[in-house]
């Protein structure tokens, strides 16, 4: 968000925590934990869901140009688990889950070393 953008009112935004582990943090300025304020609705007026969040992260938070290490074919790439409040997002409706204020979204890249 640039400085000129009109300040969003609190009721227009969602405060969430987004975390990256398993090496994914390297794609996000080497920060594991990000506190974000994201718009509550998309431009078409629909509620912000996981699909929109992933898109938002890719556009706004990810400075690394290697986008395919995070998304592939329009969704989170294979080998990354997405967890909504410590539960697999497949239990919560995957990318259709509508984000609530206070949610903790965790992206875990699987490790293979042993």
């Amino acid at each position: 968000m640039s400085d000129q953008a009109p300040k969003m009112k609190d009721e227009d935004t969602l405060s969430i925590t987004v975390e990256f582990t398993g090496g994914l943090e390297m794609l996000f300025s080497n920060e594991r934990k990000h506190s974000l304020s994201i718009p509550i609705r998309n431009e078409d007026g629909t509620r912000t869901n996981m699909a929109a969040l992933v898109d938002y992260l890719c556009q706004n938070l990810m400075k690394d140009p290697r986008k395919d290490l995070f998304i592939l074919d329009g969704t989170v790439r294979p080998g990354i688990l997405v967890l909504i409040n410590d539960a697999d997002w497949e239990l919560e409706g995957e990318d259709k889950y509508e984000i609530e204020s206070g949610d903790n979204i965790l992206f875990v890249s699987t490790l293979h070393g042993g």
Binding site: G22, R66, G79, D88, L91, G113
Partner: protein, 521 residues
């Protein structure tokens, strides 16, 4: 030169044999000591005067004595009847500290004793896992690994030893494990698990621990466990982090939705190969992978000692499957995550499963191909590259064309290893631009003339010295090629005016051909 290296090799062999001999002598001494103790124990039992024997002979009325003898001679015929104590005397002592736990008890110990566990991969995870299972008295432990012990394994693979470098990991682990607990049968499988033989290897075991380090082996092991109905405890670790999952538990047949999810339910598609980092490239801290291996042993003991009654379909596992993630430097260090249950259309464990024993046995399932691999980087043409020999000459010899002495300022040597590695050792005069900085630089940034995103410092610095050729070096000679390409895309070659190229084979080749004293880490 050849004879010196032969002498060196023989010296090393002698040293290795001598230390193996020392190991064997120590094992012999231990075995002799045990044997002697057992003999003494037997003698003591034979000769010692039992207080009851004394009473029997001198302290009681003769009628009572006759009665006792009668009773004794009566029972003599069922002398071979079931043993009075289900465990050996030495086992009560050895396992006493865990026997008195309510979760274990006599039944739990007997379940462990009758159990067999296959540990696949005898590395950073497999070593601690096998040590604790053998210590706990699991009856049979199978070990699968085709690798040999290397010096760089020893900081974390605690079953191996300096003197056993060069020995197969399975044999090395057997030396340790059989001396830890001679009651346990350790079964060697000295090879990598192959799809064609996976079923025959895994079949006879009750449970499997996946302690391997590649996606291909993880899918193969999971598929095999689903087909054979074995619970699978899967762990992995890299750098300072670890992950642990108990899969296919309960191990119900494919299609039964009450069974635990398999690896494919959680990860239907393999990760892109370029996203997979090995311990050799990413690094690993010993206690981090150790914690994960120890947790695998703990999970195995929990599953093995569980009352089999609770495994019956009517009270199938009420606990949801979880993924435990560990970060050695995190706060908190552990986090438990709820996973999904079996995937209704899983390729391995659903009613529509396409993976069958026949396909596995026939070898038609190619797991390596399924997971893909990173092909060696071959990004540059011959005139964008220089061999280590020629680069060494360029550094030390007079230029044959100009007759000029070499000067430090004649070129820029860029080392693209990460900062920590550069700090370990580097070539004199080299500058460090970590590869992670190079790849995270966007191309459009450098073209932006006005404000907008800043051009990274390393790009402007190299632009500030436009006339010197740039040599790029890395650890193995892959990242250096990618960096050369990127530098050219960023316009650092001044439209072809400045030479930019990579040093073939990186610092590994430099050590092998030019400077043997350069550290090998």
């Amino acid at each position: 030169m050849a004879s010196i290296s032969v002498i060196e090799t023989i010296r090393k062999q002698i040293a290795s044999c001598e230390s193996q001999l020392r190991d064997l002598r120590q094992q012999l001494a231990e075995a002799e000591h045990q044997h002697q103790q057992r003999e003494q124990e037997r003698m003591r039992q034979d000769s010692s005067i039992d207080p009851l024997t004394h009473d029997m002979s001198y302290g009681i009325h003769d009628d009572f004595r006759s009665e006792v003898f009668a009773a004794l001679s009566h029972t003599e015929e069922d002398y071979s009847a079931p043993k009075r104590w289900p465990l050996d005397m030495s086992e009560y002592k050895r396992y006493g500290r865990q026997l008195i736990l309510s979760g274990i008890g006599l039944q739990g110990q007997l379940r462990l004793k009758n159990a067999s566990v296959l540990v696949i991969g005898v590395g950073g995870l497999g070593c601690p896992a096998a040590a604790y299972l053998v210590g706990a008295g699991v009856g049979t432990i199978g070990l699968v690994d085709g690798d040999i012990v290397e010096e760089s394994n020893l900081h974390r693979q605690i079953l191996h030893s300096t003197s056993r470098v060069g020995m197969s990991k399975v044999d090395s682990a057997r030396v340790f494990l059989s001396s830890l607990n001679p009651n346990v049968a350790v079964v060697p499988h000295i090879s990598r698990l192959a799809p064609e033989s996976a079923i025959s290897v895994v079949e006879s075991y009750d449970m499997v621990l996946d302690c391997t380090d590649t996606p291909a082996s993880r899918y193969l092991i999971s598929d095999t466990c689903v087909l054979l109905g074995k619970p699978l405890i899967s762990a992995s670790a890299l750098k300072l982090e670890g992950q642990l999952m108990t899969l296919n538990n309960p191990p119900l047949p494919p299609g039964d939705s009450r069974g635990g999810p398999c690896y494919r339910c959680i990860f239907p598609k393999p990760p892109p190969p370029e996203s997979v980092l090995s311990c050799g490239d990413g690094g690993i801290l010993g206690p981090v992978v150790g914690v994960m291996g120890v947790l695998q042993a703990l999970e195995a003991i929990k599953v093995l000692t569980k009352d089999p009654g609770t495994l019956a379909p009517e009270h199938v596992n009420p606990e949801p499957p979880t993924l435990l993630i560990f970060n050695g430097y995190g706060n908190p260090m552990f986090r438990s995550i709820r996973l999904r249950t079996r995937k209704p259309r899983c390729a391995a464990c659903s009613s529509q499963a396409s993976i069958t024993s026949e396909a596995l046995n026939s070898g038609s399932l190619d797991y390596v191909q399924f997971c893909g691999s990173v092909s060696p980087v071959d990004a540059l043409s011959a005139n964008e590259r220089i061999s280590v020999d020629n680069y060494a000459k360029l550094r030390s010899h007079i230029n044959p064309f100009t007759g000029m002495e070499p000067s430090k300022d004649s070129h820029i040597l860029v080392d693209v290893r990460e900062k920590v590695q550069f700090g370990l050792c580097s070539l004199e005069g080299s500058v460090n631009i970590p590869f992670s900085k190079v790849v995270s630089t966007s191309l459009n940034m450098s073209n932006v003339q006005t404000s907008g995103p800043q051009e990274p410092g390393w790009v402007s610095e190299l632009k500030g010295i436009p006339d010197r050729p740039i040599f790029v070096v890395c650890r193995l000679g892959n990242d250096s090629q990618i960096t050369v390409k990127k530098m050219k895309e960023l316009g650092l070659d001044q439209g072809g005016q400045r030479w930019i190229g990579d040093i073939k084979g990186g610092l590994k080749a430099w050590r092998e051909k030019v400077e043997p004293d350069f550290p090998d880490y």
